[in-house]
Amino acid sequence: MFPLLCNNITRVSYALIFLGITCGSLKAKTVPSAEHVPQRVISIDYCADQYLLTLGTSSQILGGSPRSVASFSFMREKAKNFNKVRPTPEELLALKPDLIIRSFGGGISINKFLSDHKIPIIQIGFLDSLEDINQTIANVSKALGNDELGIALVEDLNRRLLAVPNIKTKSPALYMAAGGVTTGKGTLVHDIMSKGNLRNIVDTPGWSDIPLEQLVSLRPEIIVHSYLDELTKNSGKWSAVHHPVTKRFLESNTAIAIPPALVSCGAWYSLDAVEMISHVQREYKIH
């Protein structure tokens, strides 16, 4: 079901730093009135796009963000069928939406602007767990008037999560993103690793630089990373993934490659990453 993994990996892999840091997760605040079912909905960043494209009906979707079709957007194929809207006040007003879904698009002043113009907004905040994703799904689907779809999706996610084996002895692991950062407690990736039976060796909360010295001294058994083929050519100059120590480490350890779209923005598909991590460990009999 899931393409992945590489043992003794020979290529340096990359993940979405900005995506991870900026919008790795979501918590929703619902603003629109419950009795009104919106018919002209726009999502203004690719995190919001994932929710609208999944939980909205085609007739409701007025447009998505230009990055809804980017390689790191999970719903990119479906997004091709809809208009692309830049999150500028002028362009948004001109389309007369009756609901805007946003995570970070449009900058910090866009919410006030939209409120001033009586356009309802669902603000999706940062998420740090799969439970938060479930809550966000419920909130967004309710705002879109598609509660049942949201409930069914959450039930399916819960059922799948229960099916992931829970192993007591978790292998020490480290997450690597292309920009040279890793993640600790209080992030979605940490939660994904934990539920996939890995023990994150990074104890620093939130996102931080990949600790080269810790990489050498703590020797994680598994490296989790999400790489982007198209980025390997031009990835950041300053990333720790370019350091010879990191390259050597990647070549000599088990690495689990997760498609970047699964972790770039927390949503229902983030559970796929948990299943992948668990699946690779079973396949290679790591436990």
């Binding site: 900005f18 920009g179 001294s217 031009n234 950041g236 300053w238 010879p244 120590v245």
Partner: protein
Amino acid sequence: MSKKKLYYLLISFSLIVIFLGCLAGPTKIPIITSLKTIFGIGNSLEHTIIWEIRMPRTLAAYLVGLSLGASGAALQGLLRNPLAEPGVLGVSACASLGATIVIYYGIAQSFTYSVPLAAVSGALIGTTFLAIIAEKANSVTTLILIGVGISSLAGAGMALLTSIAPNPFYLSDMVTWMLGSVANTSTFDIALCIPFLCVGFLLLRKQINGLSVLTLGEETAGTLGLNLARNRMLVVLSTGILTGAAVSLAGVIGFVGIVAPHLIRPLVEHDPGKAIVPSALLAAIILVVADIAVRLFPTNSEIKLGVVAALIGAPIFIMIVYRRNNFYEQN
């Protein structure tokens, strides 16, 4: 203080801080074990940490400090302005822009030397422009403001590149270019810059006497046989090369080129020629110490080296400006 004593002192401190640079880091390694590892007796784990992680970044900080200190002292001598420094005058930002262009358009992938070459080219454009303007600028303030303008322009160019870049990774990359860092530097990165640094230092070394003579005024210097145009051109060229190489190694690190010459000048009788080498050594020591501090700050993400350099250098920059202002008011 005699020249010999000053050199001995700075070289001794250099060795001490480089040694400390190998000892300091987030991983606690006993001093005895570190010493053994430095002398080749430690195990592979400590060897990797000290020789492959700490030593390259320490050397990178030292080399960047050497380059920026020398460039700052030389530019101050050439422009006869104690506020001249690659970071303040926008030369470093031009170098960053050059490097950013070749990286983001994939040229760096096919030609490894393109990054230092582009950084040097950017720095040369910035330095040349400043040298031309400096002749016509009627006040120090004008020159500094032009430097601020150049810096902003180069920054805008980088921001433009990152805005139109095909992915969002470049945003964080740009921040590092602007704030400077030697974290994750490898010996390969250093080796890439060494040829440029050598050429820059050799060229600058030959202009030391010329810069000293220049303090007598251009006319007198000319009558003493100094080829003013050649001297100016070679100082611009050497500082451009040095700054470009430093930027390609560590991004923009400002103010260190002001602080070191400012502290050294009184010790060398305010002779810009004599100030170059000690300024370079002192700037190198300051940057290594700053890098050690950066490693030991208990923050989630490592503070950028340029931030610490600015925290040290910016107050001194303000103090120099304030003192100059008072001096002119009193006279």
